[in-house]
């Protein structure tokens, strides 16, 4: 079992990520991935993510650890970008590997729900006329709480 976490301001190459993850996922029969991309809705110019160095990594690893306990995963990878991003850039890559697909799918969903509202990351959206903090919506909270039921 392996957990691999990166929090970085470097662009995420999802093809390299996928290749590297597959090579480390042993004899798993299933890999599920999620790629989050900065949406270019309306006049959005950029997203800027900030983090708490040393703490964010620990907390994100803790989220991955919870997924590893909940499902029989063989590997888990989270690469979350911080810093300034423009529309169409990748903001997050999550991958999980398991013997069967269901666990891999669910684990990626679980991790994303926790990253949305439980990882020490702060998101600021810049539009043509303003910059504002983006915080979890009620739906994000409900999505995370469904795993706690």
């Amino acid at each position: 079992m392996s957990i691999n976490i990166t929090i970085s301001n470097q662009p995420i190459d999802i093809y390299k990520e996928m290749t590297a993850f597959q090579s480390h996922s042993g004899d798993s029969g299933a890999i599920a991935t999620f790629t989050g991309i900065v949406r270019g809705e309306g006049d959005i110019q950029s997203l800027t993510l900030s983090h708490y160095p040393g703490f964010t990594e620990t907390e994100v690893e803790h989220i991955a650890g919870k997924a590893m306990k909940k499902w029989p995963l063989t590997a888990c990878r989270i690469n979350h970008r911080v810093g300034k991003m423009v529309p169409s850039e990748t903001i997050v890559f999550v991958a999980s590997a398991s013997k069967h697909r269901r666990a891999a799918f669910e684990a990626v969903d679980f991790i994303m729900d926790y990253l949305k509202s439980d990882a020490p990351l702060w998101k600021q959206e810049t539009r043509a006329d303003k910059t504002q903090w983006i915080e979890p919506r009620q739906d994000d909270i409900i999505d995370r709480q469904k795993w706690e039921a």
């Binding site: 620990t58 979350h80 949305k116 998101k123």
Partner: protein, 81 residues
């Protein structure tokens, strides 16, 4: 010297700083009140949903003793992904 860190909305109000805590600031509640008195808008943010405080990189759930050796982080609602 205590390290005070401010993330999210808090960073709009305050920059990270290293300070000697006032004598009467011996716990996170006292520090929160102290900062709220000094900075307009701080109390509004601290009372928003999802706000958290960490002491030495551990989220606290209740008032916690602090000293000048500690790192205290004020964090508005978390939002990754």
């Amino acid at each position: 010297m205590a390290h005070l860190l401010f993330f999210g909305r808090f960073s709009d109000l305050l920059e990270n700083k290293t300070v000697k805590l006032p004598e009467n600031v011996t716990n996170t509640k006292a520090l929160t009140d102290y900062l709220a008195n000094l900075h307009e808008g701080f109390a509004e943010i601290i009372n928003r949903p999802g706000t958290r405080i960490a002491v030495n990189k551990a989220i606290i759930r209740s008032n916690t003793d602090i000293t000048d050796d500690d790192e205290i982080a004020f964090m508005s609602a978390l939002s990754g992904g």
